[in-house]
Amino acid sequence: MTHNQTSAIVESPARWIRSRNRWTIFEILFWIATLAPLYFFPAYLNLASQVAITALFALSVDLVLGYAGIITLGHAMFFGLGAFTAGILSSRYGWGEPISGLLLGGMVAALAGYVTSFLIVRVQHLALIMVTLGLGLLTFELANSLRWLTGGTDGLTGISTWKIFGYFRFDLWGYTSYAYSLAVLFLGFLICRLVVSSSFGLALRGIRENVQRMPAIGSDYKWHLRKVYTISAAIAGIAGALLTQTTNTVTLEVLSFQRSADVVVMLILGGTGRLYGAIIGAVIFLVAKDQLAGINPQYWFLWIGILLMAVVLFMPKGILGGLSRLIRRED
């Protein structure tokens, strides 16, 4: 700790805290860079939308995992609920308006999140992981057995999403999809950023660091957990609805264990508890997968496996953690 830093704190601790939450030049550049695919890589726009959607999903998981310390292997449950809500709305009720579909998807997922959060807060550690996993798999099986509603393993057919604001049509190249997904991702990110830099975000970190201490400082931490779980479920649901709307398809896979596990892998890969880790993780994982699978569709996961192992060995705090350490060392 340098001397003038100390005196800055003494002068105004609040200002010191605020300075830690200011937008940095890196962040601004990062978001500008997200526009690049629109101009430079139009052939990759469909991939880019899928990355943006997955990144939003990963953000929602970072809220509960990275900040509140709830390791979940069942978050696809909320993603899938959002996806199915939007899909059913369009294919069964003929309502394909995107924005309202997103919101409804988010609301349904949030409701499910709120209800299950009462179970989640009762358990910890392995039991917690397993309860999230169990609930996720139960939802999957439920969707499978409600074939009349969900289309079962074949998936829902006949989804069509209307133009955004009645104007932007979803094109084959994916310009609209990407712009739409990116905008929603950015909004979701702003919400997450606000949440984690608020006093509520601090309480979440307190829970992650030492749950047992929380009641002793007068904290109704279970209520905090239920709340963040609900917020996170809503965001995951929105991400799911976004996937439905940009692809006009929903299959059971949106609810699968694989999806839950993949998103956690991406999040850890990027680095937990720092929001951007979720985005970077999704980008690296999906782009690497796309490129490697392009080279060899049968063995790409060998290289992904090696990537994951290498990251753990050389960047134990995820890619972003590793990068930020490098940067800090340089200046």
Binding site: L126, V131, F257, V265, Y299, V312
Partner: protein
């Protein structure tokens, strides 16, 4: 009627024992060592391929391949432990998750490369096949064999891990590596041995399971969910708990499917969630 009850209980118990052999290795690595070893299934796969290849290519008898499956998986794990895992003991559960998932990917690719994507059937010796009739009920011979093996494994592990100083040394090392080491315990060696034991058991479980669940390169992922369920329901670190949990899940699952088949695919998850909500540390777990 009574016959049906007996046979359903027997089948359920046998199914439970299948789950037990698949997961007992994880009870050691995850339960005792606190190492989130999602590559458990990959070690099981090693054991499975050892058995299949020895039987097919060299005509080694099935029973003899079992200890070799144990050794094969244990050997692979010792090498990996020395190079990789030991660095991960302290680095947090998320890194362990990521690393071991990466390892499963690599293992699956390796298996695809060497053995192809197809199923690898084995042909058991005739004395282990078919069923025998006792009191007018037909019991599957292989199922009885599984039950016997599981009881033996449980007994051996229970006495070596829960009743000897070695068990206490493992727990001490896991509790607090720093202090255990400062007291003169060779934590590295303890961990290496324990890890090899856990992986060896995984290999043995894989070899025993091939007959029932088959073997292909996705084996490593396939039963991950099941084994995690058994370990968490049994309670971390308790061999007896795993045994009990597996038996309970097996019987519950088979009996449930028999009585309410519509709930077939929900049962095991319902049991999981219900048990953990009532007893978050599992049936016999302390942590």
């Amino acid at each position: 009627m009574i016959n049906n009850i007996v046979i359903v209980l027997f089948d359920g118990f046998a199914f439970g024992m299948l789950l037990f052999v698949l997961s007992v290795g994880l009870t050691v690595t995850l339960g005792l060592m606190n190492f989130i070893n999602l590559a458990h299934g990959a070690f099981g796969m090693v054991g499975g391929y050892v058995t299949v290849m020895l039987m097919r290519q060299y005509g080694v008898p099935f029973l003899l391949t079992l200890p070799l499956a144990f050794l094969g998986a244990a050997l692979v794990s010792v090498v990996l432990e020395r190079i990789f895992f030991r660095r991960l003991y302290r680095s947090g559960e998320l890194n362990q998750v990521l690393f071991t998932i990466g390892l499963v990917f690599v293992a699956a690719a390796g298996a695809t490369y060497f053995f192809g994507t197809g199923q690898q059937p084995i042909v058991l010796p005739s004395w282990l096949r078919g069923s025998v009739e006792l009191f007018g009920i037909r019991f599957g011979v292989y199922r009885m064999f599984l039950i016997a093996v599981s009881l033996a494994i449980t007994a051996v592990l229970f006495f070596t891990l829960e009743r000897t100083r070695f068990g206490a040394k493992i727990r001490a090392s896991v509790d607090n590596q720093k202090v255990a080491q400062a007291l003169g315990l060779n934590v590295e060696r303890i961990f290496a041995i324990t890890f090899a034991l856990g992986s060896g058991l995984a290999g043995l479980g894989g070899a025993l399971a091939v007959e029932i669940v088959g073997l292909d390169p996705s084996f490593g992922f396939h039963f991950l969910v099941y084994v995690l369920i058994v370990v968490s329901v049994g309670g971390l670190g308790s061999i007896a708990g795993s045994f009990l949990g597996a038996a309970l899940l097996g019987i519950g699952d088979v009996a449930g499917k028999y009585l309410v088949p519509e709930l077939g695919s929900f049962l095991i998850y319902l049991l999981l969630v219900a048990i953990l909500l009532v007893k978050p540390t599992g049936l016999l777990g302390k942590r």
